[in-house]
């Protein structure tokens, strides 16, 4: 029995009652949803699986499955997808009902419950990250904050000093991004580098959480992108490292 998770280009996968294409779709699983493999592959692609809480065997294409990573990483990326779905796949805008209340929950997770999505002047992307990490659980020592720069700096300092922590900050050519990592980029016109972030913890930045790895890019989910929770792809180099072309200056490796 192998624990797997959905990893689809279209952010979900059909679940079938038999190992073939046809009129046999019995369900749909979202990106990162867990499944358990219960037998050998059938035909050229069909994996017999069991979905959590169900007893019957269903079939899912091997092309939309990946091996699960650690439990804290899986919890984190599932929380991101959950929020992406809660914002109706990027169509729910921060200031509209009920989405402004969801933004309020993000703020509440870092003790700023007086804010919500109707306050459109205060960027909430770091509150989103903090909310997802807190919800995932097990990330003891993470610097929950309204500013990305706080936990980026913390992760780099920990890496440089060989200190334990849930994240270590690497240069983009030092670590190939994996599921549950964070991609951190500078904002337009801000001149932020890895070395600057190692020395400072108060600067404009933005981070997204990696939920899928492809040959030429990683897919991420982040908050306050186009006024909602959005997916963003970051290009990879041929070696599998993040490309600097996307204004990326650091990758925070999930150590759990």
């Amino acid at each position: 029995m192998t624990e797997m998770a959905i990893d689809s280009k279209v952010y979900g996968a059909n679940v079938r009652s038999s190992p073939r294409f046809g009129n046999n779709v019995v369900g749909f699983l979202n990106q990162c949803d867990p499944v358990r493999v219960v037998g050998p592959k059938q035909g050229d692609r069909w994996i017999p699986c069991r979905i959590q809480g169900q007893s019957n065997t269903v079939f899912i294409s091997k092309n939309v499955l990946r091996r699960q990573v650690s439990a804290p990483r899986e919890r984190l990326v599932r929380e991101c997808v959950k929020q992406w779905l809660r914002f109706d796949k990027e169509t729910g805008k921060e200031h509209r009902n009920p989405y402004h209340r969801f933004v309020g929950e993000f703020w509440d997770s870092i003790g700023l419950g007086h804010l919500d999505g109707t306050d459109r002047d205060t960027p909430w992307s770091a509150a989103f990250i903090s909310f997802c990490v807190r919800k995932a659980g097990g990330y003891s020592g993470f610097k929950f904050s309204a500013a990305h720069s706080k936990y980026v700096n913390q992760s780099i300092v920990r890496k440089l000093n060989n200190q334990a922590g849930p994240y270590w900050g690497f240069r983009i050519n030092e670590h190939k991004p994996q599921i549950g990592d964070m991609v951190c980029r500078k904002r337009t016109s801000a001149n932020i580098t890895y070395d600057f972030a190692a020395q400072n913890n108060a600067f404009k930045s933005h981070c997204d959480i990696v939920i899928s790895i492809r040959d030429d890019h990683v897919s991420t989910i982040g908050g306050n992108i186009s006024h909602t929770v959005s997916r963003v792809n970051y290009p990879l180099t041929t070696s599998g490292h993040l490309s600097a072309s996307g204004r990326v200056y650091a990758v925070m490796k999930n150590m759990l």
Binding site: H95, D119, R120, D121, T122, P123, W124, S125, A126, A127, A146, A147, H148, S149, R187, T188, S189, A202, F203, K204, S205, H206, N224, I225, S226, S230
Partner: protein, 119 residues
């Protein structure tokens, strides 16, 4: 000669006065996906001068009190081009031009007076 010096003095004073009163515009981002400014800071002390230009050699347009929130939009050296945020008012909504032209007060605050809050 004396008359020439007086004219020169008056011209200089006029030019300095004009420069002090003149405002320098605050540039805002124009990304489709990111916020126009992307960060908010809190004023750390009372009677902080909101300058018209990124310099102490400028007439302040307002004095800010401790706890006031400003959006950090532009930067020149140690000076931040800021928009003074007002509760219940979205100062940056529909900002689409290169320079801030919204209804909230804008100006320049020295880095030493602010504490980075969000972004």
């Amino acid at each position: 000669m004396k008359r020439l010096l007086v004219i020169l003095l008056i011209t200089s004073i006029g030019w300095i006065g004009y420069r002090m009163a003149d405002s320098e515009q605050i540039a805002v981002g124009q990304s489709q996906s990111d916020d126009p400014c992307g960060a908010v800071a809190v004023i750390e002390s009372n009677r902080v001068q909101l300058q018209r230009r990124p310099s102490t050699f400028s007439y302040p347009s307002k004095f800010l009190n401790q706890g006031a929130r400003v959006s950090l939009c532009d930067r020149v050296g140690n000076w931040h081009g800021v928009i003074l945020l007002e509760r219940g008012k979205n100062c940056l909504e529909n900002t689409q031009k290169k320079y801030y032209d919204g209804t909230c007060l804008s100006g320049w605050v020295h880095q030493k007076h602010i504490s980075f809050f969000a972004g």
